[in-house]
């Protein structure tokens, strides 16, 4: 059972380039989340989804877009990457009961030059 899988694990981009981070979960979870983690800081919520076809903004949504076309996948897009988006990105999923814990992937380390 793979749990939450993030691809790619590492990526280096130039300013202005675009890319998509993929998160896949095989636990049939309803909720999915994208966080970023910067040095010395906790995780900050970027966007989240409470079900297929739905997305919503979190704490730091600017510069990112997301899509949840399939229940098992949650995509995070950067349309025009900026150095301030250099970070480690974590995806998480959760059952439909919001009091249950979240399950995290191992992250994507993204550097924007």
């Amino acid at each position: 059972n793979a749990g939450v899988t993030q691809t790619p694990k590492f990526r280096v981009l130039k300013t202005g380039q675009s890319m998509t981070l993929l998160c896949a979960q095989d636990m049939n979870h309803e909720y999915m989340y994208w966080y970023r983690q910067d040095p010395g800081m906790g995780l900050r919520l970027i966007h989240y989804s409470v079900g297929e076809g739905t997305t919503a903004k979190g704490e730091v949504p600017d510069g990112y877009n997301v899509s949840r076309l399939k229940k098992q996948n949650f995509l995070l897009g950067l349309e025009s990457a900026a150095p301030s988006q250099t970070s480690v990105y974590f995806c998480a999923s959760q059952t439909g009961n919001s009091n249950q814990p979240q399950h995290f992937g191992d992250g994507t380390r993204l550097s924007i030059l």
Binding site: G42, L43, S98, P101, Q102
Partner: protein
Amino acid sequence: LAKTTQPISMDSYEGQEVNITCSHNNIATNDYITWYQQFPSQGPRFIIQGYKTKVTNEVASLFIPADRKSSTLSLPRVSLSDTAVYYCLVKGGYQKVTFGTGTKLQVIP
């Protein structure tokens, strides 16, 4: 959103019990308290969750006083492999998740 406050770092010797306290003065009635552990280059991993009083599982205990404005994660007899960052999370629904900066626990041989 309920904000959490934890010590930035703690040191402990192997075999000792470690208690990490988290303050969450603005916790709401429906909020649960959840603790996660994070190793370098990995995502956070769930440790324990509670609403009030005491919860215990195979790896930790969680103590929550009656006013629920704080909570204490207790790790019995820590080993070197418990060196990690521990996050206290107050969660009352999917859109109200708030991670603090965490407590970096260093276990010393």
